[in-house]
Symmetry: C2
Subunit: 326 residues, 2 copies
């Protein structure tokens, strides 16, 4: 029993928790619920309690039988203090939430919190596409775009703890406003949110797309209308022009951003994951093409560009690994 | 005598060589000549022999009395083989030049070659603005823009040896053509070359600038017309509007590029150096302002932005340090 820990991955659309065997990376039980942009701190914690309880139940275990609970969350985190500082893509009202101590209080086990992408990178490094690779970068494309830098087998935290935030690197000076408030950031061009905005814009201008058939109550003018990755995948398969163009543009922009990473950090391998990257092959293909095309020749030929191996579970596996201090 | 080594810094406009005391960083003698874009491999080596001979003469020493010769050069380098692979901003015809073995053959001492920015970063780390700092980034703005990443006191080479190439990170997707052939790279917006092009463009469109008085034979339509850093400095001091605008734009773009670095690599300190950065205060001020403005709040407040301390000599000092294996 001492091999198990609970990992929680709190993303832009869902919270996933799993009880993970931290020696093998195997999943013993899981639970998943949706998230809401309008959560207060209490509501956000309740969501986490729900999925942790659910995962433990699914695994037939009690919290005390695990080595602890790890949480990865999309936002700025103070790992040392177990504090969620700020999160642009999730609840907008939550600041300085003492997540780790709240979890320890409720479950009586150790708890740790990290940036969601950093824990996903740890998962990939331990049991996935980064296994045995010393220098790599993980990029996860979903509601936002996150990244993490692993060097000599260790995650680079950065002076302020936010190294790897590739979503907030400049792609287009003075360009589109980003979720973080900045301008021209990669995330505003290549995330699922950006793809959604491009498609909804086309619909508002009267272009026809199969997404209006695939989504029952789609309102292209609603502020928080979202098109899920599964829908994008179906639309691409059905050769929907609007979606193919939006995804291709995002892939091109992503590749341009990745070429910066290749030129600046020059990693051995780039691991691409996240919801929309998992679902939509076209995005991966375009991103790879444009990365190699735009990078400096020597570095661009040499870099390995691969998909994440743990898929949806890289986050929970990594979170369990840090919870176990393994 | 055993403390001395020769450092050579081969840049876009000049080659500087110094005999350096590698225990103290002190300069015992120097020599400097201009470079030419039209050098063959032989001509390029002759230039290096000239300045090495000159620096040794100035120091009153013979090559055999030094621990070796180190060269930093703006281009892609294979440090292990002592090979200059390719250089976009210097001679366009030189590829795969076995620089280290040629130097050893002529002078009978060990020789080493590195990217010019990497050796400048080593100089700053050992004796300059990076002394005692574990995690920093050096950015040098001159004919081109180069950078180097130091982490835990060590220079990060990158998988293909070109980590730190911030000049070739994306600032403006599908933007200006860069010297490297890529599009939208920072170097095409914030280097001295970019500033020069902006000013010459203004002159061709009939705007008036004091630079036409400060440079005797300036031909705004000549392909390789260059405006040196000293001229830019004078023009800014004399409140020349054309130059102030061009430098301010470059500083803004540079800051936007640096904000990417702050968000992605999140260094403790950024050291800014290079010819035009040394000369023109306005460029530093604008770059610092825009870096902090565009970076993620927490990381942007926390990062230290300082000037290089060794100025023109960071390269030769670093080159001497690697030559001595010190």
């Amino acid at each position: 029993m001492a091999n198990y820990a609970v990992g929680v991955d709190f993303g832009g659309t869902k919270v996933l928790a799993s009880v993970v065997d931290v020696k093998s990376g195997k999943i013993a039980g899981s639970a998943k619920i949706r998230t809401s942009l309008f959560d207060s701190g209490d509501a956000l914690m309740d969501r986490i309690y729900d999925v942790v309880d659910g995962a433990l139940k699914d695994a037939g275990m009690k919290a005390k039988e695990t080595q602890g609970i790890g949480v990865g969350i999309a936002g700025q985190v103070n790992a040392e203090k177990g504090l969620l500082i700020d999160t642009a893509n999730l609840s907008r009202s939550v600041v300085d939430l003492p997540m780790a101590s709240l979890l320890t209080k409720r479950y009586g086990v150790d708890a740790a919190i990290r940036n969601d992408v950093q824990i996903a990178a740890i998962g990939e490094h331990r049991f996935g596409a980064g296994k045995g690779i010393g220098d790599f970068i993980c990029i996860f494309v979903g509601t936002g775009i996150g990244g993490a830098i692993v060097r000599n087998g260790e995650l680079i935290p950065g002076a302020a703890g936010n190294a790897g935030e590739i979503g907030h690197t400049m792609l287009m000076a003075d360009g589109r406003i980003c979720g973080c408030g900045g301008r021209g950031h990669l995330e505003a061009y290549a995330s699922r949110t950006a793809i959604t905005k491009a498609i909804l814009g086309d619909l508002r201008r009267g272009r026809k797309s199969i997404v209006t058939d695939l989504i029952d109550d789609l309102d292209p003018t609603a502020e928080h209308a979202a098109i899920r990755s599964g829908i994008l995948k179906k639309a691409v398969q059905k050769k929907d022009k609007v979606v193919i163009e939006a995804v291709s543009d995002a892939g091109k922009y992503l590749g341009m951003g990745l070429s910066s990473v290749v030129n600046f950090v020059n990693p051995q391998r780039i691991i691409l994951g996240g919801g929309v990257m998992e679902s939509v092959d076209l995005l991966f293909e375009q991103a790879e093409y444009w990365t190699r095309r735009e990078a400096l020749p020597y570095a661009g030929e040499q870099v390995e560009i691969v998909r994440s191996k743990l898929g949806d579970f890289s986050g929970v596996v990594g979170a369990a690994v840090i919870a176990a201090g393994a």
